[in-house]
């Protein structure tokens, strides 16, 4: 949609009829303070929204015109109006707000007042005119709202000086509402509302129906209950049967495996038994060899080690003999000495019996000292006390060898024979082991050959274990089959019950009510859930789009003017729609007024641009004094940005004086109009003698 022209007649500073034509692209209107720039903006506000800033109609009429009529005391009526022509989808819409004033008896009287919209019907091509004088207020409002939706208008008709008031981005609702506008969320919301209402109605109706039906059909209820029970029974039996069949299948596989193994083993049981037997025998022989080795070690250390010692031992014994000879000669000599000096035992015993010493013939009564002296000499001549103690000790030591020399001699004599016997035994055991090893290797070779033929599984098979496993499997199979049979009987029973109850229900159904509403409830619930989730997703999606588009606009601004200005970027929280400012690296930054204003402008641009993208509706962007904070350096990038983002824009600027000619050269500007306030020469300007003049540059 574009704004083709605006006509102002005696509206505020616009004297008589003034027409301004606009083209696509950027239309720039510039003027100094008080020249009537804001009046032009106010004209839009009055026309479209009947805004007069609380002023009466007489007060928004051109004062110069009023003064002229009053001065001449004329009865001439003054026509005051503002009309605009929008072109939307190739159709012209003329919107006009009008009133006429007449000066009667020193008073200004409103004669006529009208608000109208006229256009050619896009479908019928009929000319349409709706006006308040015809009582078509609603239709006018409807048509205007179609052209300029209220929710977006604040972004279209935009007054920079009131930016903070008009568009409060610190209030998260602002952006949320923008999102609502851009999207079809309102439609969703309405759909949800309708759907919920419908849902409530249906559920209520359903509830009533159900109650009525329940009351009437206990039989139906019972049959349904039985049918449900049978259904559960069928389900549970089927599951159980399925599980059991699965288990049985596994058991069958295991049984097959056992059978396969046993059939393989059936060909070679002897070999395996033989192998086991040989292994057992080998173990036995090895045990014997081990025992033999232990025995050999004992024999070795206790006996055999002495082999070869006999000459030396014999030598030792020779020395013993020599010693004994020496000792014997000493004893013989001593015995001779004893016989001469000491009486023999025979005589002493006679003295003791007769109680008299036969040597000195004195009495020796028993127990007396003389008796004891005689007694002390008994056996004295039998002891070899006469030997030297050293010889005596040697004699005792030699005697302590006892029979060991003989024992050792015998041992030594048998050593060779024993060793030979041991050798024989070892040989015998070794031979047995070798034979068994040969037998084992031969069996192993046979097994190996059979394994090569039948597969390696043979090696680890044990027919006894496999047979026992097969028996256990077969027993389990039997149990499972019985269980399956049992459940199949139950299943048949439940199926019969189910069919019987279904029959009863089928017979009852014509009398009962089917509930198609139930489906409707389901669908409506689904729609509501869908709307809810879609709304949430779309809100997040759009808020991200606003942020993205804003920052894209900001980026294009900075790209061309990066040496002159530092641009901020917008960061919009997708959860609470709050706006914050960040630098190019995404770090939070406070920024200053003009920078923030530029971001906000870009947000507005983004909202309108997205609106175009989403709803295929394009709007003109009309702003008065876009940002008072902007200096020329900031204004130019802003204008460039606006020209890029909107099909049509009308920017009313404060007086840029000398810059106008420079701006005119810029190819992104379609038209420049200069507004001045004209007043008579030699007189100071007042409202009653001055008026706004528009000049194309």
């Amino acid at each position: 949609m574009i704004l083709k022209e605006i006509t102002l007649s005696n509206y505020k500073s616009y004297y008589n009829k003034c027409n301004i034509k606009f083209s696509e692209g950027l239309n720039l209107i510039s003027g100094h303070v008080g020249a009537g720039k804001s009046n032009l903006f106010d004209a839009f506000q009055w026309l479209l929204y009947n805004k007069t800033d609380g002023k009466e109609l007489k007060d928004i009429a051109n004062q110069k015109k009023l003064y002229e009529i009053e001065s001449n005391n004329s009865s001439e009526s003054i026509e005051c109006f503002v009309s605009v022509v929008f072109n939307n989808k190739k159709i012209d819409y003329t919107v006009k707000r009008y009133y006429s004033l007449t000066f009667r008896t020193n008073n200004w009287v409103i004669d006529n007042e009208d608000y109208s919209i006229q256009f050619e019907d896009p479908i019928t091509s009929d000319f349409k005119l709706f006006s308040t004088s015809q009582g078509n207020n609603y239709k006018i409002e409807h048509e205007i709202n179609k052209l300029l939706p209220t929710s977006i208008s604040k972004y279209i008709w935009f007054q920079g000086e009131t930016l903070e008031k008009l568009i409060d981005f610190t209030n998260p609702k602002t952006l949320e509402n923008a999102v609502d506008f851009i999207s079809y969320l309102n439609v969703y919301s309405k759909m949800e509302e309708i759907s919920l209402d419908t849902l409530n109605l249906i559920e209520k109706k359903l509830h009533n129906k159900h109650n009525a039906e329940t009351r009437e059909s206990n039989k139906f209820k019972k049959a349904e209950f039985e049918k449900k029970k049978a259904e559960i029974g069928i389900g549970s039996c089927s599951t159980k049967i399925k599980e059991l069949k699965e288990e049985l299948k596994k058991l069958n596989q295991r049984e097959k495996k056992c059978n396969d193994q046993l059939s393989i083993l059936a060909d070679f049981p002897d070999l395996l038994v033989k192998e086991t037997n040989i292994n057992n025998q080998l173990n036995e022989i090895r045990g014997k060899r081990f025992t033999h080795y232990d025995d050999l070690k004992i024999q070795y250390i206790n006996k055999w080690i002495l082999k070869g010692c006999d000459p030396l031992i014999a030598e030792g014994l020779t020395f013993f003999e020599k010693f004994n000879e020496k000792k014997q000669s000493l004893i013989t000599e001593n015995n001779k000495q004893l016989q001469e000096g000491i009486p023999g035992d025979k005589l002493i015993n006679k003295m003791l019996n007769e109680h008299v010493c036969l040597i000195c013939l004195r009495d020796a009564p028993e127990g007396s000292d003389a008796y004891k002296n005689i007694e002390r000499n008994l056996d004295k001549n039998k002891e070899i006390k006469i030997l030297d103690p050293e010889i005596q000790s040697q004699s005792e030591i030699i005697a302590s060898f006892g029979s060991f020399p003989n024992k050792i001699h015998k041992i030594i004599n048998n050593i060779e024979e024993e060793i030979n016997k041991s050798y024989d035994k070892e040989e015998e055991l070794q031979k047995s082991e070798n034979e068994l090893n040969d037998a084992l290797n031969s069996v192993k070779d046979e097994i190996k050959a059979l394994e090569a033929e039948k597969g390696s599984i043979l090696k680890n098979l044990n027919s006894k274990l496999i047979s026992s496993e097969r028996e256990s499997i077969q027993s389990q199979q039997k149990t499972k089959r019985n269980q399956i049979k049992h459940y199949e009987i139950d299943l048949t029973r439940y199926k019969n019950i189910f069919l019987a109850q279904k029959k009863i229900l089928d017979n009852l159904l014509p009398k009962s009510i089917k509930y198609p509403e139930k489906d409707a409830v389901k669908y409506l619930q689904y729609i509501n859930e869908l709307i809810e989730s879609r709304t949430k997703e779309e809100k997040i999606e759009l808020i991200n789009k606003i942020e993205e588009t804003t920052n894209k606009i900001q980026k294009t601004i900075v790209e061309k003017h990066k040496e002159k200005i530092i641009v901020l970027y917008a960061k919009i929280d997708e959860n609470d729609f709050s706006l914050s400012f960040v630098d190019k690296d995404g770090n939070p930054t406070p920024g200053h007024g003009a920078q923030k204003a530029l971001v906000k402008m870009s947000i507005i641009s983004a909202i309108l641009k997205l609106s175009n993208d989403y709803k295929e509706q394009s709007f003109p962007f009309i702003t008065d004094a876009p940002a008072s904070d902007f200096d020329l350096e900031m204004t130019i990038p802003f204008l460039e940005s606006v020209s890029r983002n909107f099909n049509q824009s009308i920017v009313i600027l404060k007086d840029v004086k000398d810059q106008l000619l420079t701006l005119k050269k810029e190819n992104y500007i379609s038209s420049i109009k200069k507004i001045t306030l004209l007043s008579p020469e030699n007189k100071s300007a007042s409202m009653s003698n001055s008026y706004t003049n528009i000049e194309n540059i």
């Binding site: 050999l296 070795y300 002495l306 030792g316 020395f319 013993f320 020599k322 000790s393 040697q394």
Partner: protein, 149 residues
């Protein structure tokens, strides 16, 4: 009453460290070890000593001991407890070599046995050098040595 046991039981024969390490420890399991070591032919340290001493006597090879650092891992009582025959045979062989007068001096008897054991250890070492260090790892070779005497 004196006896050869009484005379000798408390005496400990000395063994030179190298012989102890290369032969005694190599062929005998450490006394008191419960687990049998199948790789060792002798079960006690005194056994290889007795083997060496007998070899020394038989071959009439006696060598003086280097007095320093000798080890005395057991007493003659241990030999007596292990095998009375070996104990008496050793004593008889000492008498056979030295005459019965040696029975007066237990230290001298001990020394004679030690020196013959050293002679025997040298013979074994020669065997190991000539026939290979693993020669006596095969128990049959102990029997071969006996049969070859």
């Amino acid at each position: 009453m004196d006896s050869i046991y009484k005379l000798m039981h408390s005496k400990s024969p000395r063994i030179e460290p190298l012989d102890y390490q290369n032969i005694v420890e190599k062929y005998a399991a450490k006394g008191g070890v419960k687990e049998k070591d199948a790789t060792k032919f002798f079960e006690n340290y005194w056994m290889p000593f007795a083997w060496a001493a007998i070899l020394g006597f038989i071959n009439d090879k006696s060598l003086p001991l280097d007095e320093s650092n000798c080890l005395q891992p057991f007493k003659f009582q241990t030999i007596y407890n292990g095998s009375e025959e070996i104990f008496f045979a050793l004593m008889l062989m000492v008498v056979g070599k030295e005459g019965y007068d040696i029975l007066k001096d237990s230290s001298k008897m001990t020394k004679v046995i030690e020196e013959h054991a050293k002679g025997g250890f040298q013979l074994i070492n020669t065997d190991l050098i000539e026939k290979g260090e693993d020669y006596y790892s095969d128990h049959n070779n102990f029997l071969v040595e006996i049969l070859e005497r």
